[in-house]
């Protein structure tokens, strides 16, 4: 092993993997929460929605579009003041979280919105005919009925998110991205870059695999 990858510090690789997983999971949880909320706002306030409101829709929609359009590497730099305000520093794994979450939530929100649009209008009408309140429709109809789409969307988002953690690594977030860039690319140790890449690929495959299984299990269509 050491002959094959002479420059790899395995303990350092493990620490970096832990940091990447930390960034992925924590930002994943927040992205999920913000994405579902934003997706619901987009769906519900749109024309013909349960809480139709043109102004709210337009503001939310513009916000989502703007943050989705900004390249991630620029977003990190733009958000430095906010990061310092929330986390207290701009270096380290935690410091990467705000920009990763703000970068991924709008993307996931659009996927949630698409999933909600796939819910049969007839089912919503049937729920109304049974006297369901709007809150009951959201909680008992819209979210459960769009769950497979939301889970598939979350899988795609998580994978995009891992890419972003690696990019954040270049500006000092730590994790496999930092390792691959500093110890690998800059120090010209291609074996380090290679191992870091393989680990990232394995994480991606595992997430895709688990996501597919859950999506299939909840899909009774």
């Amino acid at each position: 092993m050491n002959q094959l990858f002479p420059h790899v510090d395995w303990m350092g690789m493990l620490t970096a993997t832990g940091q990447t997983l930390y960034m992925t999971l924590v930002s994943g949880v927040f992205t999920f929460i913000f994405g579902v909320i934003l997706g619901l706002v987009l769906f519900l306030t749109a024309k013909g929605g349960l809480y139709e409101n043109a102004i709210t829709y337009r503001i939310t929609s513009s916000f989502v579009n703007i943050f989705r359009a900004i390249p991630f590497i620029i977003l990190i730099i733009l958000l430095i003041p906010l990061t310092v305000l929330i986390i207290g520093t701009m270096i380290g794994a935690s410091a990467a979280l705000p920009s990763i979450i703000i970068g991924a939530s709008p993307f996931f929100a659009r996927l949630v919105e698409i999933g909600l649009h796939e819910v049969d209008k007839g089912v919503i009408e049937a729920s109304q005919s049974m006297g369901a309140t709007r809150f009951q429709i959201i909680w008992k109809v819209l979210l459960p009925e769009s769950l497979p789409s939301i889970i598939s969307g979350m899988t795609v988002t998580l994978i995009a998110l891992i890419g972003n953690t690696a990019m954040a690594g270049v500006v000092g977030a730590g994790g496999l991205g930092t390792l691959a860039y500093n110890d690998g690319f800059e120090a010209n140790n291609n074996d380090v870059t290679f191992v870091a890449t393989i680990i990232i690929l394995v994480i991606v495959f595992i997430i895709q695999f688990i996501g597919d299984i859950i999506a299939r299990r909840v899909d009774k269509r």
Partner: protein, 340 residues
């Protein structure tokens, strides 16, 4: 039970206002099955959705079970709607829930405890004949079974009214019959008032007591199903009546004679056309002791006379009628006495 008074519905579209219903008045009585028939675009869907205020009338009053629904706020409506069940053409079940969970859904909305829900769901599953399917998902059911789930769900909160929105239009003829039978049974056993909309006269004939014909947003004809069938006035009503196959119309005519002459006997004579059976018919028609009315005559000439059927109403003393029937039977005419 249900009263729509001067109801109008106008939709605002980008192409200008579209009138869906124009000054409509309708009264549905307690416990009856009331049908509304019309072509697509006549306003049927709008009409049925006005009854539970899924559509708000532009003008007019909607009253159900003594409550003026058109005057209620959204929140008050949620409560009143539990009194009005509804089933749909495409069933509109939640695919993420099992049969039992789908039926429990309206009970959850009403805040019923878990134990009570379970008990009620079991009752409903029995009522609609879905024993053993409680833990199936909708995607594992046939169309007819899905509609049974829809019916169970609609009945869960013991509503006073059941609205059926083209409930059998997506089903094959045999399944249609079984669902109509179920609706008819429920109407009888629970005394629930049913309003259904359809474009098939067959459905109206099968289970409705009264019918209204809807054309271009207004009711053009209304009455008991019998009257509408036997003497349709409007051209569109005649078209709908014409949809139903001739034997069915015959059946209605026979039943009408039956109820008007409870003492008379209705017989169906079958002629095979192998021998000349004219003398037998002559003797029957000229029998002075009885009175014979021809209800249906479907005869066609054959080599030796004619073949086909005659449906007759025979009035007279019981014994004389019986001997006349025996007489014609002895002359190799097949006689079927229709049950009265």
């Amino acid at each position: 039970m249900i009263r729509l008074t001067h109801v109008k519905k106008v939709y605002q579209t980008s192409a200008g206002p579209v009138k869906a219903l124009t000054d409509l008045n309708l009264e549905v009585r307690q416990g009856e099955i009331f049908g509304v028939i019309g072509y697509s675009g006549a306003g049927k869907s709008t009409l049925i959705r006005l009854i539970n205020l899924l559509e708000r009338p532009t003008e007019g009053r909607v009253e159900v079970a003594g409550h003026v629904l058109s005057a209620l706020s959204e929140k008050e409506l949620s409560r009143e709607r539990k009194q009005i069940g509804m089933i749909f053409q495409h069933f509109n079940l939640l695919w993420s829930r099992t049969v039992a969970e789908n039926i429990a859904f309206p009970l959850e909305l009403s805040g019923l405890s878990k134990d009570k829900r379970k008990k009620r769901v079991e009752e409903l599953i029995r009522l609609v004949g879905l024993e053993g399917r409680a833990s199936s998902y909708p995607s594992q059911l046939s169309g007819g079974q899905k509609q049974r789930v829809g019916i169970a769900r609609a009945l869960a909160n013991n509503p006073a009214v059941l609205l059926c929105d083209e409930a059998t239009s997506a089903l094959d003829p045999k399944t249609t019959d079984s669902i109509l039978q179920l609706l008819s049974d429920i109407n009888r056993s629970l005394g629930i008032t049913i309003v259904l909309i359809t474009h098939e006269m067959y459905v109206i004939n099968k289970i409705c007591h009264r019918v209204a014909v809807l054309d271009k947003g207004s009711i053009v004809e209304e009455g008991t199903v019998r009257d509408i069938f036997l003497s349709p006035q409007q051209a569109i009503t005649k078209e709908f009546v014409g949809q139903v196959a001739a034997p069915l119309k015959q059946q209605i005519r026979i039943e009408k004679f039956q109820s008007a002459n409870p003492d008379g006997k209705i017989v169906q004579l079958h002629f095979d056309g192998k021998t000349d059976q004219q003398p037998a018919v002559d003797r029957l028609l000229h029998n002075q002791a009885i009175r014979v009315t021809i209800i249906v005559s479907e005869l066609a000439p054959s080599q030796n006379g004619f073949y086909g059927t005659l449906v007759l109403l025979i009035n007279g003393h019981q014994d004389t009628v019986q001997s006349a029937i025996d007489q014609i039977r002895s002359e190799s005419v097949k006689v079927e006495v229709l049950p009265s």
